[in-house]
Amino acid sequence: MKFSVFISPKAIRSKLAASTKEGVISEMVDALVEAGEVKEADRGDIIKAIMKREELGSTGIGRGVAVPHTKHASVEKLVGTVGISESGLDFDSLDGQDASLFFLLVSPPDRPGDHLRALENISRQLRDDSFCRLLRQSKTSDDILQLLDEADSSQFGS
């Protein structure tokens, strides 16, 4: 599933300010609210659900990347955003390293296939060193968006 299908351009954040796991998650959910992808009224519940999922095991999957996610009945389709933390932060990642690249996903409870296909795309791109490097070097939301578009046109990975 291409990034353009589930990443909300308006919710992309190239400079996350938060320095804690919950802070980053809140900041990215706020970005989805501001972009009109999730309702303000559901903000707190979505953050809580994502934190609860983190308790089952960190979604920090290594290489400085984390994919915090949850299902939530308030969304009709999979929505997601990308955020970068310049300094990186402790996300209890599997490899013990700080996370600096974040993909946050909120999916409808009845669409596990879409979630899996989004994860498939994210992980395939992240295995590509140049994609990771360019993503880390992105200074603006437009830089990130352009990189995602290029990835969608199969200019990275296999």
Partner: protein, 110 residues
């Protein structure tokens, strides 16, 4: 001559220990091989010395890498070929088949 005999024993040993074990596994989790089962699989695979791979429709993933496993996009019902090569390959196959069989001990969906 003596040297040759030793070499041939060594080569038989190395052939035996590198025999590839394989099995067909099916993803039974309703949500497919998503992040949590993939994480469990990596943790299990990392306890063995052998190399362990999963193949889906010609695509091969390293069972020690969660990023690699997630690229398979293995939905419920996907049939995968599990392969292991190394000294403890047989036990690795048995252990991992069991994980697929009991749905990676997932009871609740989230």
């Amino acid at each position: 001559m003596k040297q040759t005999a030793v070499n041939s024993v060594l080569s038989i040993d190395s052939r035996m220990s590198s025999a590839i074990q394989h099995s067909l596994v099916v993803v039974k989790n309703a949500e497919g091989l998503h992040m949590r089962p993939a994480d469990k699989l990596v943790r299990a695979a990392s306890t063995f010395q052998c190399q362990i791979e999963l193949e889906r429709a010609g695509q091969v993933a390293d069972c020690r890498s969660i990023l690699s496993l997630l690229t398979l996009g293995a939905t419920e019902g996907s049939e995968l070929i599990l392969r292991a090569q190394g000294p403890d390959a047989e036990l690795a196959i048995r252990t991992i088949c069991h994980l697929f069989e009991n749905q990676f001990e997932e009871t609740t969906a989230s």
